[in-house]
Subunit: 150 residues, 2 copies
Amino acid sequence: MQRTNFGEMACSIARTLDVIGEPWSPLILRDVNVGLTRFEQLQADLGISRKVLTERLNHLVAHGVLERRPYDRRPRFEYVLTEKGTELVDLLMVMVGWGDKWLAGEAGPPVLYRHHACGQISHVELRCAHCGQPMHASDVDPLAGPGAAT
Amino acid sequence: MQRTNFGEMACSIARTLDVIGEPWSPLILRDVNVGLTRFEQLQADLGISRKVLTERLNHLVAHGVLERRPYDRRPRFEYVLTEKGTELVDLLMVMVGWGDKWLAGEAGPPVLYRHHACGQISHVELRCAHCGQPMHASDVDPLAGPGAAT
DNA sequence: CAGCTTGAGTTCCTTGAGGGAACCTCCGGT
DNA sequence: ACCGGAGGTTCCCTCAAGGAACTCAAGCTG
């Protein structure tokens, strides 16, 4: 499958997909985020092929999303989120919000989140970083930016 | 490639990936969102194989993200976002935010967004739907929900 | 009416990524 | 010296992505 190169496109969505666009990567980040940081843990939890897991981890490390570091004198490694990777978890939280709302069905969401600041079970909402008002697709106008394609 | 079935997992991230987890789908939604709604337009803009585009569109329609509807007496169709699909665009906006910050490089972001409410060039930020304070991965505790795996 | 055009797919072939299982290697413990 | 476990690597097989050619229906053109 000669996959199209998304990283070259003049689009931040395509570029982001070049980093985590293949379906295992978000699940790897989810697991790393909750403390499943080792190869064997990830493989067992996800049921992913060891070969593919190796590829994904290398890819995520190469893109600066994860950091591979030893945790023993033996050759043992764990994968931890970098700052760049931690900010990607925002994306996961939005996926959770959408999946909980539209795909959970009668059983309800599999996981709930309690917000530290208010102590309530809640979910994320998109706001404008400038004025704090809600900011969805219909609330913005796109303009050509400095990095626009020629 | 006998792909793993993400839809069956008790995880809203995996379920969401089952719907838009393959890398073309977010780009299709992006295009549909900005008015490229017809088969030929999508194919030309994305450079995607016609076969794969057909598969993706059918998949997105089957999952209620897009609606296929005729726009002529001839057999001509356009794809429009449903409410479910429109809410998925939030995910794209978060991807844009991350890509702009971490992947745009020296050229800067390819597209800027002006927020209607304040008129400023801005980007999205995650807030708690309950109290309005910032809500990121480190600000929440996960709890087992009603739909948790047995 | 015959023929052309256009949008929207469908078919077919080739390539290569994902799955799965077996294998390898390094190192500390006994 | 042997065992065992973490962290991969190698191998083969299958099936999805790419790409180009083909089809089909409806309107338009002369």
